[in-house]
Subunit: 130 residues, 2 copies
């Protein structure tokens, strides 16, 4: 498969772009993380979401510790070529490191961020292996 497509991505000054993971079935926005060129290439090659961890400065194969892998069904890019949208199947139904279904669990209501989702599995159960 040609990789000309990767050269059409407009990487930011830091070599990164935001990547949205959206549930391929429900349309729920699961999370946003960052990708560099290597992460996006591996994502497409493996059909599994791979991000760049800014805090650890290394590739982050989503689910490598938690098992909460994201199988990538479709990959889109926006009009400016600087944001990627992945449609994924989320293993375990948990995308967030807090043990919630997705990362957007805080909603602004009456001047504060209110938690709107339960913890499905406690993080110390998810990451017990590591």
């Amino acid at each position: 498969m040609s990789t000309d497509w990767i050269d059409k991505v407009c990487w930011g000054e830091n070599g990164l772009i935001p990547a949205i993971a959206q549930d391929a079935t429900s349309g729920v926005v699961l999370m946003v993380a960052w990708m560099n060129r290597e992460a996006l290439l591996e994502t497409v090659d493996s059909s599994r979401a791979v991000y760049w961890s800014r805090s650890r400065s290394q590739l982050w194969r989503k689910g490598e510790e938690s098992g909460h892998v994201q199988r990538v069904k479709e990959v889109f890019i926006d009009c400016d070529g600087d944001v990627v949208l992945l449609k994924v199947d989320q293993a375990g139904g948990i995308a967030c490191h807090t043990g919630r279904a997705n990362c957007f669990f805080r909603k602004l209501e009456a001047g504060d961020w209110i938690v709107t989702q339960p913890v499905l599995v406690e993080p110390n159960q998810i990451y017990a292996k590591s």
Copy 2:
């Protein structure tokens, strides 16, 4: 209304965070833009999406030229406090400056980005006023 919530946002080094606009009804991801503190405050205050234009270095009241305003129904923030998700009603059914329904109209297929959405209104019709 208290504004303590704004101090819980984790702005990037450049004072910006990504903001996703998602159609409140269909769940379609419409676009991603950037917000600074002022943009998010005005978004919440006006219930209308206001971004920070990095290219113009000024506030961008979405729809100010095109009329394609985004009415904000709900505001979420992610676990790390550094990405905002807006659920919006998209005026005119067109979020993208190319005249398409949303900005994620290019899909990766067989090694290239394929356009998957029609232009609903030609940009020179949308921006004729300016």
